[in-house]
């Protein structure tokens, strides 16, 4: 093995030596190297195994189009699979390993697949794994899963951090080759705010790999000087290592900036930043990608794209072989030959498929015009090629150029289809470009250096004219120009395998088979053969595949179809999309006003939507949650308890038409609600099903406060705004959400009034005569602090809710607890709240589940027929009024010791557990400390007339089947005497 393939020149920094390991072998490189160039410099030809056949593979390209050289980088939790070695910048200590082999890279056991290739053709999976059906889950799927997936994930949480950012600019220039640099320069000099983004760490694009001259300097020197000028401008943001991965509507672009991937450690800073860029104009200068030619065994390590071979020599100072041959159908292969020859690399032969006069003479090289390669040899590294004229040449590197495909990807993201251009034998952008986007340089089919420089200036000028900026005086610099001519040539006919898509192991045979079996449409071809799938998305293979399909179907390429692209241009780390919104930061946590106090009391908390609510308050000695909850219920019912209910939605409704408005959004009447009174209201959707419920208090003639359920607070507000703005635009009514503005506590139990009388200021009479059940009003507490008092009950006890401005919420809970000491006050959490509402038979989220009507809930009479309200008309549909409708009932176990379970379905005694026998289902259950046994709520067909009957609660999931008696849903104080006091 050749140990050092370094040659003179290049853009690497030889003063900075770096050490790295590949599969445990220590190797050296320099700053400016990619992992790929460093591996080649160290003579490492074999870098991976192919996806399907596990063929030995080497580095194929020098850029983001790489289909072969996929490696795993870093250790432990930082391990990242499927990274392109051609894009990974070398750093000191880089740890890289190869992937997709069982056993070592050198001896991959799965290479047996290569011998089985006659079976593993296109459609293999679809045809083979169909039968026997029972084999799928137990046999086929585990095998497929074990052999799929290329690299391996670490299996640990991603230890890196990511961030998101937002940028605005006048002109986004995508790509920093000759066209991009001139476009940015033109727009920047005119004063536009410019962003110049390039996926490479070194800006300049092809200028860094060419030996041409621009403005009488070496191309790379001119690029460096131009980038320096742009950086100095101040109005140009230059973003290397930044991929524009997607184009979205109205000038929005997705950019991924790799901040620390080129460093040994991120140092705690975001590894990558995902930018959303709002650009008035964008100029796509993404260049072109070289494509291969299909011929027998064209996938061996050492067979590379000609432009890549040139790039490794010129930019990275690496000779990719000692004896090279060139196989080309266009002039760029000859430029590679000239450059390499000038570097002292021996060129054995230039084989051109065209029957033309050789465009150049290459020292020492045989020039074979009209030549074809019949086959190649060398298992783990190329050793020779054989031409169709019988000549065998010993070469260790073959540089192939099948022409260039403009990088039109981003022009397609919003649906534009590229069009075929015969002159360059490639697709160029179609006419319906994304709004605000133009294309310059090779991406637009301007294939020569001077054409690219000029089109960059032209598009830069067009952009600043569009933006209304003063005209630019920038001119394209002089450059020496190369000749660009190509004659399409796609494949050398062979009975052997000739690869089209290296990453997915798709060969010309597979495409011809797809054609024979009727999968000729491009989209079918892709899915049947997997052509163009996976991480490279067919950057080097799509056009070749299409051309081979065209030849097989005897059609032209435009007749066969086009290849279109979706975002992302190259893979984007999911972590970058998430940014900092991970784990607990995924969404905010809302804490009710009593949170700090509840924490001091050792409360157990539960997440309800965004809210963190106290679930119960354990006392010392209580080991099971039920002990705490049962105690909270008993003590509340015996004396007094308090609960933070601030999470309920609160909407302030004001205006001369406020009552009229409420009458339209609630199914029951609100117009006649007296000032100082509260009413329970039920809200329907327009389809007549129940949506939400709550109480609304009339504080004054034109001022109401509505409460909603915790879960629907935002949605109810949105619906009310819809009703106000869209349905009844001229009602004088205004809405504001005051959920966060008020801290509100339920004070429940026989001693609740006595407790409140201790803190409500004396000038407010809250005696039962002055402040009866369902009264409300503004009061003051603790010597003049503003408060609102509502006499409403969810527990069935005499109860109040008291609200104070949120800033007093923490103080109020402490005051209430201190004042309640003489009554043995208890705080209670959401569990006890739930138990008491089930005992009382109030519907909550489990019953108001979007599938139930007021009739189901036993509130059918509340839906007024004498007024128009949302849902009133459609709730009268015959199908929703049937006598067999489900009705809310209570359920108690016939054997008191039986435990009920929510979700159980009801069956008649003796009926089989079949759908047609289904009578309904259990919605809520609780152990009732008041009754001394489990109780439940549920929906039962003909429920009301079946009260007293025994049915079964059958729970197939938990495996229980118990007898229950149908009762009234109101287990506790059914006539409401207690709450009315």
């Amino acid at each position: 093995m050749i140990r050092n393939n370094r040659i003179d020149g290049g853009l690497i920094d030889r003063t900075k030596s770096l050490k790295f390991t590949f599969n445990g072998t220590e190797m050296g490189g320099h700053a400016g190297d990619t992992l790929a160039s460093a591996l080649l410099a160290n003579g490492q030809r074999l870098v991976g195994r192919s996806f399907k056949y596990h063929r030995p593979r080497g580095i194929f390209s020098a850029g983001s189009e790489e289909p072969n050289a996929m490696v795993q980088l870093r250790h432990g939790a930082w391990q990242e699979p499927n990274t392109r070695a051609t894009m990974a910048e070398l750093f000191d200590g880089l740890h890289a390993t190869s992937q997709n082999h069982r056993g070592s890279l050198e001896k991959d056991f799965l290479a047996i697949n290569d011998r089985l290739s006659n079976f593993l053709t296109a459609g293999f999976y679809y045809k083979t794994f169909m039968w026997p059906k029972s084999f799928w889950e137990k046999v086929y799927e585990p095998i497929i899963r074990a052999s799929a997936g290329l690299g391996r994930l670490s299996g640990e949480p991603d230890p890196d951090t990511y961030d998101k950012g937002f940028l605005h600019c006048d002109v986004l220039v995508i790509g920093s080759g000759p066209a991009g640099l001139m476009a940015a320069l033109t727009a920047g000099r005119a004063g536009a705010r410019v962003i110049l983004a390039d996926e490479d760490h070194l800006l300049g694009g092809r200028l860094n790999s060419d030996m041409q001259e621009v403005a009488e300097q070496a191309a790379a020197d001119w690029a460096a000087a131009t980038v320096a000028e742009l950086v100095d401008m101040g109005n140009v943001r230059v973003m290397p290592r930044t991929t524009v991965h997607g184009v979205f509507d109205h000038g929005i672009y997705g950019l991924l900036e790799r901040k620390t991937d080129h460093l040994a450690s991120s140092g705690g800073k975001p590894r990558q930043v995902h930018w959303r860029v709002y650009a008035k104009r964008a100029i796509l200068c993404a260049g072109a990608t070289e494509r291969p030619i299909a011929f027998a065994n064209n996938d061996r390590p050492g067979i590379m794209l000609a432009g890549a071979v040139r790039s490794y020599a010129n930019r990275y100072a690496v000779a990719t072989g000692k004896h090279l041959a060139i196989f080309t159908n266009n002039d760029s292969g000859w430029q590679a030959a000239s450059d390499l020859s000038a570097k002292g690399i021996a060129i054995t032969a230039v084989i051109d498929t065209r029957e033309i006069t050789p465009p150049a003479t290459i020292k020492g090289a045989a020039l074979v015009m009209g030549g074809r390669i019949r086959d190649t040899a060398g298992r783990k590294s190329l050793t020779s090629i054989t031409l169709t004229n019988g000549l065998t040449l010993p070469v260790d590197c073959l540089a192939v150029s099948g022409g260039w495909s403009p990088n039109v990807h981003l022009t397609c993201h919003l649906g534009n289809r590229p069009v075929w251009d015969d002159e360059i034998a490639g697709f160029i952008p179609g006419k319906s470009l994304p709004s605000g986007m133009s294309v310059a340089g090779a991406a637009d089919g301007d294939m020569t250096l001077s054409a690219a420089l000029k089109s960059g200036v032209a598009e830069g000028k067009a952009a600043i004219q569009d933006l209304g900026l003063p005209p630019a005086k920038t001119k394209a610099p002089d450059s020496n120009d190369e000749h660009f001519a190509v004659t399409p040539f796609w494949q050398v006919a062979t009975p052997k395998r000739a690869w089209v898509d290296l990453q997915n192991d798709v060969t010309t045979k597979d495409i011809k088979q797809a054609q024979r079996e009727g999968f000729q449409a491009v989209e079918h071809l892709k899915r049947y053969t997997t052509l163009g799938m996976a991480t490279d998305q067919g950057k080097t293979s799509n056009v070749l595949g299409l051309a081979i399909m065209a030849e097989a179907s005897d059609k032209t390429i435009p007749e066969t179809g086009t290849t279109v692209f979706r975002p992302p241009f190259t893979p984007v780390t999911l972590g970058a999309f998430a940014g900092s919104a991970r784990g607990k930061n995924f969404r905010p946590t809302r804490r009710p006003p009593s949170h700090n106090w509840a924490t001091e009391k050792g409360a157990q908390f539960v997440e309800t939507g965004l809210w963190l609510r106290a679930q119960w308050y354990p006392r010392s000695g209580e080991t099971k949650w039920r002990e705490s909850v049962d105690r909270e219920v008993r003590k509340t019912r015996a004396s007094v308890g308090i609960c933070d209910v601030s999470t309920l939605g609160k909407i302030d409704v004001q205006g001369r038409d406020a009552a009229t408005f409420l009458n339209k959004v609630y199914a029951n009447g609100f117009a006649k609600l007296a000032v100082g009174r509260v009413r329970y209201g039920i809200m329907l959707r327009e389809d007549g099903f129940c949506y939400d419920d709550g109480t609304t208090a009339r504080l004054s003639e034109n001022h109401f406060v509505m409460t909603t359920t915790t879960a629907n607070a935002g949605l109810v507000y949105q619906r009310l705004e819809f009703a106000r703005q869209c349905l009844w635009p001229d009602l004088d009514v205004h809405l504001i959400s005051v959920t966060d503005g008020w801290a509100q506590y339920a004070v429940a139990g026989p001693n609740s009034r006595k407790l409140l009388q201790k803190i409500v200021d004396e000038d407010h009479d809250i005696s039962d005569e002055a402040f009866p059940f369902m009264a409300c009003g503004a009061v003051s507490v603790c010597g003049g602090k503003p408060a609102r008092l509502f006499r409403i009950s969810f527990s069935g006890e005499r109860a109040y809710e008291i609200a104070v401005p949120t800033r007093f919420g923490d103080a109020l809970v402490r005051v209430l607890m201190a004042a309640g000491e003489e009554f043995g006050i208890t705080p209670y959490g959401t569990e006890a709240l739930g138990v008491m509402r089930i005992e009382k038979g109030h519907a909550a989220g489990n019953e108001l589940n979007g599938q139930t009507t007021a009739l189901n809930l036993g509130m059918g009479g509340m839906v007024s027929k004498n007024k128009d309200s949302i849902g009133s008309t459609l709730s009268s549909r015959p199908g929703m009024q049937g006598e067999d409708t489900l009705q809310l009932v209570g359920l108690r176990p016939v054997k008191p010791a039986d435990k009920l379970s929510a979700g159980a379905h009801f069956l008649d005694v003796g009926a089989a557990a079949k759908l047609e026998n289904d009578l309904g289902w259990m919605t809520s259950v609780a152990y009732s400390p008041t009754m001394g046994h489990y109780i439940g709520l549920g929906f039962v067909k003909y429920g009301h007339i079946r009260q007293g009957e025994v049915i079964r609660a059958w729970d197939g999931v938990r495996g229980t089947d118990i007898e229950v008696e149908i009762t009234s849903p109101h287990f506790y104080d059914p006539d409401g005497g207690l709450q009315r006091g």
Partner: protein, 95 residues
């Protein structure tokens, strides 16, 4: 997408909630003889045009305006944005 809010200027569509067809503004008269049928059609039948489409967007992360946005479903080009309240008045909902 960017929605050019009539009061607040261009805003990212991420700030909005999408509801759908602006025909939801045209809520039928509950006292019409065929009210049940009209409400059925109002609620369940929607056009799905390839081309210009008027739809309701709610500026939830903003000023809580409901907007009527005229958007081309083929290109996502937005040709008009108006306050839903103004739109509703034009549709004769002032009564």
């Amino acid at each position: 997408m960017i929605i050019n809010h009539p009061l607040l200027g261009p805003r990212d569509a991420e700030e909005f909630v999408h509801l759908g067809d602006a025909a939801l503004v045209d809520r039928p008269d509950w006292q019409a003889g065929d009210a049940l049928e009209q409400f059925h059609d109002y609620l369940y039948l929607r056009d799905n045009p390839a081309g210009e489409y008027r739809e309701l967007w709610y500026h939830e992360q903003g000023d809580r305006s409901w907007l009527v946005v005229t958007r081309n479903t083929l290109t996502h080009e937005i040709s008009k944005v108006e306050l839903a309240r103004d739109f509703a008045r034009k549709q004769g909902r002032s009564a």
